[in-house]
């Protein structure tokens, strides 16, 4: 049943894509309707899939080797649910954010439908070739979405970078599935034999998986495509990409590693290391951004890091037979997949409304929007609190699970091995990440929504359109719900962890105390704040005192860059900023400007220069094609002689 529903939902998404191409502007709303209904049906399927194990189905696809086999287990359903949810909300959001009156509306809707549909099928594909095919289709659809504004060179560049990166990922995936086939003899995800898993093939499979899925998930140092793409795409697309598309990588990694009878320490250690690096550097880079969407993009890297950290803890602990710790790690990591999907989408929706109103992505050109769009501000604030991992919202629950796993590892008996020692680094790493994330989001929320508007656009911003506000409501509710009643998810979590790792135990007793505390806490906080606000609603108002500044201007405000400056300076060793400062000022300084920009170390200082050098080297080879026919004939003769000599061997 679940399989049928999920497939039906996906097909409806595809259908909306088709419809968007044929119906006229006036009735474009139809596409949204289809998309939404498909999403709801799909969600129903996922909910059915949470308990129904292994519902299978076959779609028509007549190619050699490839079978469009669909199989739904709890893990697939778990990953597919956010896809459908964000598909629905994205469509609702886009209804006003990218109305059919806007140019290329049909284009956006078409590829949005394809992306969501294919994405949901990727997660339930049981045949590896089918998996790869859908995987690449998602990538292509996202490429077209990122490059929606082809007139804008930046968008084009971002889209191309994304396409190149994800195609490399796909080719790596080609290697993965073919190697898997040669190892197992089938085109489906079947467990590896112990012999294979421990052989070089096993390690090769692991590294291929790390690269392929790492690029997709945007883990450091494979994240190069991510910030630009998230920044350039239409906001609801960014929400989907950051919320669910990059989770494909996590899903793939979990799926492939679930095939190993035993995951050796070094694999878990690699995952954990990458997780820690991604989380800390991700948030560090985020702090340095002044483009709202790039900031959110780097936070995606951070959260992917947290997820990987959880998984890494799980794999290592399982390897040492510590069931409880493994359970906590896996559960934390996987739950964070949902949480990040929810609050990141929420944040992107909020950011989108702000950008929609101010026509800029520069944080320091906004400000004071909370007074003009209070609901959006409230939504963004919820997201900000949640992503900072603060109680009583959902972010805290997943991070807490990973924390507890880390603590238990320290408390428990000591084991040997560098991978084990890595476990001890989890807690401090999370602590640092959490604190920095908090700083970053206070900065973002404060600079965008609080204080005085810094530009005229910001000052004249109006309330966001209804559909854009509506799309945020379910996300806010979900963030609160998971934070307040985490126990409700305990059975699902133990089921998916069992699928992912074979470890299985209940989390009810672990999560119960959190639930006992969270609800009252949330209630008391809400009461106190609202009581104070209501009591002082008539309080006399005047200009900010600020130690007696008579006429503070908006430009006096502490900007987002200045807020983060000290913290960013700590990371200068890994992310040197490029500063364009006026040199020695003359005695009577004229107008001077200071601008700082944070290049992505891996991309701008590593990859691009390398590629340019490669191109130069390739250019050298061009003299081979010199245009002289005699020379070409010489090649012919030389080849002939060489092959003759070969044939004489």
């Amino acid at each position: 049943m679940s399989a049928q529903l999920i497939v039906l939902g996906a097909l409806l998404c595809f259908a909306s894509a088709l419809v968007s191409l044929v119906v006229p502007r006036r009735t474009q709303v139809l596409t949204a309707v289809i998309q939404v209904s498909g999403g709801i049906i799909g969600l129903a399927g996922c909910i059915a899939g949470f308990r129904g194990a292994g519902a299978a189905l076959r779609l028509p696809w007549q190619v050699p080797m490839g079978v469009a086999a669909v199989r739904v287990d709890a893990l697939s359903a778990f990953f597919a649910a956010p896809v459908f949810l964000l598909g629905v909300l994205g469509a609702v959001y886009a209804e006003r954010y990218w109305p059919s009156s806007k140019p290329r509306a049909a284009y956006v809707r078409c590829f949005f439908g394809i992306a969501t549909g294919a994405l949901s099928l990727v997660l339930v594909a049981a045949n590896t070739l089918f998996f790869v095919a859908l995987w690449e289709i998602v990538a292509l659809a996202c490429f077209f979405l990122v490059g929606t504004d082809t007139a804008d060179a930046d968008a084009r560049g971002a889209a191309w970078l994304y396409l190149a990166a994800s195609h490399i990922a796909t080719l790596t995936l080609f290697g993965l599935v073919t190697l898997l086939h040669s190892a197992t003899g089938t085109w489906s995800f079947v467990p590896l034999s112990r012999a294979v898993a421990s052989s070089d093939t096993g390690s090769a499979l692991f590294w291929l998986a790390i690269v392929a899925f790492g690029i997709k998930a945007g883990m450091m140092p494979f994240h190069v495509w991510l910030p630009a793409a998230h920044a350039a795409a239409p906001t609801h697309v960014s929400a989907v990409m950051s919320g669910v598309v990059i989770k494909m990588g996590i899903y793939g990694l979990v799926r492939v590693l679930s095939l190993y009878p035993a995951v050796p320490d070094w694999m878990g250690g690699t995952v954990l290391t990458l997780g820690i690096i991604s989380s800390i550097l991700g948030v560090a880079f985020a702090l340095a951004q002044h483009d709202l969407k790039r900031l959110l993009a780097y936070h995606s890297i951070e959260n992917i890091g947290i997820i990987l950290a959880g998984l890494g803890v799980g794999y290592i602990a399982r390897g040492h037979g510590l069931v409880m710790i493994a359970m906590l790690g896996f559960a934390g990591g996987l739950l964070h997949v949902w949480n990040h999907g929810l609050f990141k989408a929420l944040l992107f929706f909020g950011a989108g409304s702000a950008i929609h109103a101010t026509h800029t992505r520069e944080i320091d050109r906004m400000g004071g929007l909370a007074r003009r769009m209070p609901m959006v501000a409230a939504g963004f604030l919820t997201g900000a609190v949640a992503i900072s991992g603060l109680p009583p919202l959902n972010g805290f629950v997943s991070e807490w699970l990973i924390y507890v796993a880390g603590f238990k590892a320290v408390v428990g008996p000591m084991r040997g091995g560098w991978a084990w020692l890595l476990l001890l680094a989890v807690v401090p790493a999370l602590a640092l990440t959490g604190a920095l994330a908090l700083a970053c989001f206070v900065k973002a929320f404060g600079a965008v929504f609080l204080g005085n508007p810094r530009t005229r656009e910001a000052a004249e911003a109006g309330q966001a359109p209804a559909s854009m506000r509506l799309a945020m409501v379910p996300l806010v509710l979900a963030c609160v719900a998971i934070g307040v009643v985490p126990v409700a998810l305990a059975p699902l979590l133990s089921r998916i962890v069992a699928i992912a790792s074979g470890v299985s135990m209940s989390l009810v007793t672990t999560l119960a105390p959190l639930q006992r505390i969270a609800a009252p806490m949330a209630f008391v906080l809400a009461i106190t704040v609202s009581a104070l606000v209501i009591r002082l609603r008539r309080a006399p108002r005047t200009v900010t005192w600020d130690c007696g500044y008579a006429r503070p201007t908006a430009r006096m405000q502490y900007s987002s860059s200045s807020t983060a400056r000290t913290l960013v300076a700590f990371f200068a060793w890994v992310m040197p900023p490029s500063v364009h400062a006026p040199g020695q000022l003359p005695l009577f300084p004229a107008e001077a400007a200071l601008s700082t920009h944070m290049p992505d170390t891996v991309l701008d200082r590593g990859l691009l220069p390398a590629l340019r050098r490669l191109q130069r080297i390739a250019g050298i080879a061009h003299y081979i094609q010199s245009g002289r026919v005699q020379l070409y004939l010489v090649y012919l003769g030389v080849t002939l002689l060489a092959l003759l000599v070969w044939s004489l061997r």
Binding site: A133, A204, A618, A621, L636, S647
Partner: protein
């Protein structure tokens, strides 16, 4: 029955030569192509009859496959020609149309030929025919391209002839009399004289490899494809190369039957990888999108021989890829031709924003790019993947790694140029040109794109059967 597939085009060629009316000739070509396709269809559906019309002309499983590709591609191109020659009304098309039809006849002969020398004669004839097609534009650049093509092609073909004679000599040593009929050679291959056979194979590989455009024998390709009309490019890259590949396959059969298969496959793998590498190097930073397509053709010829060289599933993959490559090249070259005509240039300096200027052709070009680089849901995705499978199953990990690496580099190199062409905003003066996307200039492209799509989503069982038979013939398992 089969022989009509040769006669009809020849008659049509004669007609095209005598008919004075410039407007009518393209229609004759189209009609002949239609007839040819119809004939092919009938031949393919009718079960194989035991008795061939002559020992020299017979249609075996390989031939059926290639004939199908050839006929469909030619039909597509012929229909496109109607629109194209209407656009180029200023140029006399008498020679062009006539030679097109002779080309069809000769390639068909080549596909049917069961005798090495007959095959060689047909190949030489196509060379000469192509030379005249290349020269359609009659300007200095096309002249230069033609000359190079002629020289390199002729030398190559001469070497192929020498190889043919070597084969005959080895037959004479082994079998007593120098037969050159494929069936005999294959069935009595065991007794051929090995040294002569190996030498013969090398000469034939170089000779027909030149026609096929394997690096480092490919140097005529960029010039020829760059200067020829797009439709000729499509016919060369999709049709002629496939025929040359067929020739190599027929020879490979003999060599394999003689127990020299490993040696031949070694050479195939080496040349295949080298071709991919060369293509990769020259695609990076390529400023001319028609030359880009030429190098893409070099790459895919490399992939074809690589597939054969890997054996096993690779043979099936290679044959499947022959189909996909031909159809996709049709899309790419014809779309490129439209863009070229609309912008009056094929350099990146002048061509950008093709999708805005030519919504259909631009999109087709982009789709073709995605298809040829092996993106689903298009056909090449399947074939390229199955060739990789062959490498992995054969534990040829280094080959597999290189294959993937070259594919990645080529994707980036090609994408840089293609996206620069289709995306962005077209220069103002581009609007001025009279070029419009008529039915004849877009429908054929759409058709072949649809075929590529079908090859990736729902391969007809008939095609699968054709492929399976051909694979069995080559000793691979379908």
């Amino acid at each position: 029955m089969i022989v009509y597939a040769i006669i009809v085009p020849l008659v049509a060629a004669l007609a095209a030569f005598v008919v004075p009316n410039e407007r009518a000739r393209p229609w004759i070509v189209a009609a002949a192509a239609l007839a040819h396709t119809a004939l092919t269809a009938i031949i393919l559906v009718t079960p194989v009859t035991g008795e061939p019309l002559s020992p020299w002309l017979r249609l075996d499983a390989l031939g059926r496959l290639i004939l199908a590709i050839l006929s469909v591609l030619f039909l597509i191109c012929a229909i496109y020609c109607i629109g194209y020659l209407r656009l180029r009304a200023e140029r006399p098309n008498k020679i062009f149309c006539t030679v097109l039809l002779i080309f069809l006849a000769m390639t068909t002969t080549l596909v049917l030929a069961q005798h090495l020398t007959l095959m060689w004669v047909a190949m030489e004839a196509t060379t000469l025919a192509t030379a005249l097609l290349l020269y359609f534009n009659e300007n200095r650049r096309s002249l230069e391209a033609t000359w190079k093509y002629l020289m390199i092609g002729s030398v190559g073909i001469a070497l192929a002839l020498l190889g043919t004679l070597f084969l005959a000599y080895s037959a004479r040593l082994g079998l007593g009399q120098p037969t050159l009929l494929f069936p005999e050679l294959v069935e009595r291959a065991g007794r051929l004289s090995t040294p002569w056979l190996r030498t013969a194979f090398v000469f034939l590989l170089v000779g027909y490899g030149t026609k096929m455009g394997l690096a480092p024998l490919h140097n005529w390709k960029p010039d020829a494809y760059g200067e020829a009309p797009g439709v000729v490019g499509a016919l060369l890259a999709g049709g002629l190369t496939s025929c040359a590949f067929l020739a190599l396959l027929r020879i490979y059969r003999i060599v394999d039957a003689a127990g020299q298969g490993p040696f031949a496959r070694q050479l195939f793998v080496a040349l295949g990888l080298f071709s991919m590498a060369t293509a990769a190097v020259f695609m990076i930073g390529q400023r001319d999108f028609k030359r880009l397509l030429a190098y893409s053709s070099v790459e895919h010829m490399g992939i074809l021989v690589l597939g054969i060289g890997l054996g096993g599933a690779g043979i099936f993959g290679a044959l499947l890829h022959t189909v996909n490559n031909a159809l996709t090249k049709g899309v790419l070259f014809l779309a490129a031709a439209n863009i070229h005509r609309a912008f009056k240039s094929k350099r990146l300096e002048d061509v950008t924003g093709a999708i805005r200027r030519l919504p259909l052709s631009g999109s087709f070009f982009l789709a073709g790019f995605l298809a040829i680089t092996g993106s689903p849901p298009f056909g090449p995705f399947i074939s390229e993947l199955s060739i990789l499978t062959a490498a992995m199953d054969g534990k040829r990990y280094v080959v597999a790694a290189l294959y993937l690496f070259f594919l990645a580099v080529i994707f980036i190199g090609m994408g840089n140029t293609v996206l620069a062409v289709v995306q962005g905003v077209p220069p103002e003066d581009a609007e001025g040109h009279a070029f419009r996307e008529s039915v004849f200039k877009t429908l054929p492209i759409a058709a072949s794109l649809v075929l590529v799509l079908i090859m990736g989503t729902w391969i007809p069982s008939g095609v699968t059967k054709l492929l399976a038979d051909a694979t069995r013939l080559l000793g691979g398992k379908p």
